[in-house]
């Protein structure tokens, strides 16, 4: 009986291993442009869509809250708060998702293209971890106490995300058209010329 359980356990373990290996096959081919495009797109979304100061100021604007609190019937106040809660949750979830994309890019690819010192890598790892934790905390706060509960934390999180964007910009700088000139007329072992 014990031998049977053991065999079943091993079989199950192998099945789980097979499942994870099969999932890995969906990962893009090493050296493909997919990660770069995704990282560039995440950076653009963060810098232009989610982190601009005026956008954050509008989402968490207390002037609107003041208006609905003083001049609008209570039923509408409930609708307003529910809508802002939905928007603020959507904002923090998207920031988190884009930061996760950038972190994956850093972990898997950027070190092959940019010389990062060990202290820089450690600092980046802490920055990413701290930011993801802050996003989770904000999500919980918005969910439990509404979008106006932690204005200072919103600003701190946005500033930290912006700093990481600047770091990531450096990692992706080699993709900028202006930097392509340094490769011009250089040939690869396969004979490709820029």
């Amino acid at each position: 009986m014990i031998a049977l359980i053991l065999y079943l356990g091993v079989g199950l373990g192998l099945f789980v291993l097979l499942y994870f290996l099969a999932r890995r096959s969906h990962a893009p081919v090493e050296g493909s442009a997919h990660q770069f495009v995704e990282a560039r797109s995440s950076l653009q979304t963060l810098e232009q869509g989610l982190l601009p100061r005026d956008m954050i100021a509008r989402i968490f604007d207390r002037q609107d809250l003041q208006y609905v609190t003083t001049k609008v019937p209570a039923e509408i106040r409930g609708l307003f708060l529910a809508e802002r809660k939905r928007i603020s949750l959507s904002w923090v979830r998207r920031v988190r998702q884009e930061v996760v994309n950038l972190m994956h890019f850093h972990r898997a690819h950027s070190r092959f293209y940019v010389q990062l010192s060990l202290p820089t890598e450690i600092r980046l790892a802490f920055d990413f971890a701290g930011l993801l934790l802050a996003c989770r905390l904000l999500e919980a706060i918005f969910y439990l106490r509404g979008p106006y509960a932690a204005p200072r934390m919103v600003n701190l999180t946005a500033s930290a995300a912006m700093r990481l964007c600047v770091e990531s910009e450096k990692s992706l700088a080699f993709l900028n058209a202006a930097n392509i000139d340094q490769f011009r007329n250089k040939t690869t072992p396969g004979g490709a010329v820029v």
Binding site: R58, D64, T70, V72, E83, W91
Partner: protein, 142 residues
């Protein structure tokens, strides 16, 4: 291109005082089948391509203006727009609640969160506007 966009602002959009009105108008100049903007007068003065680009620019501009508009201002803009539309106000509110026409009025390439934020504000503004038409609620102290 700048001259064309300036022309649009000076001649056409000058008659539309609110960002909401401008965004709805500019969206109406866009062909939903191909996403291109068309304005006969502008196309004959400049070219179709220049007119299209200028209208797209002004559309993005009016959307960003609307994004930055406070809820209180948005309610006023919505009220003014409803009055200028010529529709019976209660019908206007019913149609906007049912059809949400503003959902197809955002420029192409708008960040989904920004679009969602504007839709959300318009939904709340519409609800506030509706309460003002309803005698159940007293008018808000201005």
């Amino acid at each position: 291109m700048l001259a064309v966009a300036d022309d649009v602002r000076r001649r056409t959009l000058a008659h539309l005082p609110s960002a909401l009105g401008r965004m709805i108008y500019l969206a109406s100049t866009r062909d939903y089948n191909n996403g291109l903007y068309y304005h006969q007068g502008l196309a004959s003065r400049y070219s179709e391509a220049a007119a299209c680009e200028a209208l797209a620019d002004c559309h993005r501009e009016s959307f960003h203006e609307l994004l930055g508009t406070s809820l209180e201002d948005l309610v006023q803009q919505l009220q003014a727009y409803a009055e200028s539309s010529g529709a019976i106000t209660t019908n206007f509110v019913a149609a906007w609640k049912e059809l949400a026409p503003y959902r197809v009025a955002v420029p192409v390439g708008t960040d989904p969160l920004a679009a969602d934020f504007v839709f959300s504000n318009l939904k709340v503004a519409l609800a506030i506007f509706e309460t003002r038409l309803n005698p159940r609620w007293p008018a808000s102290p201005e």
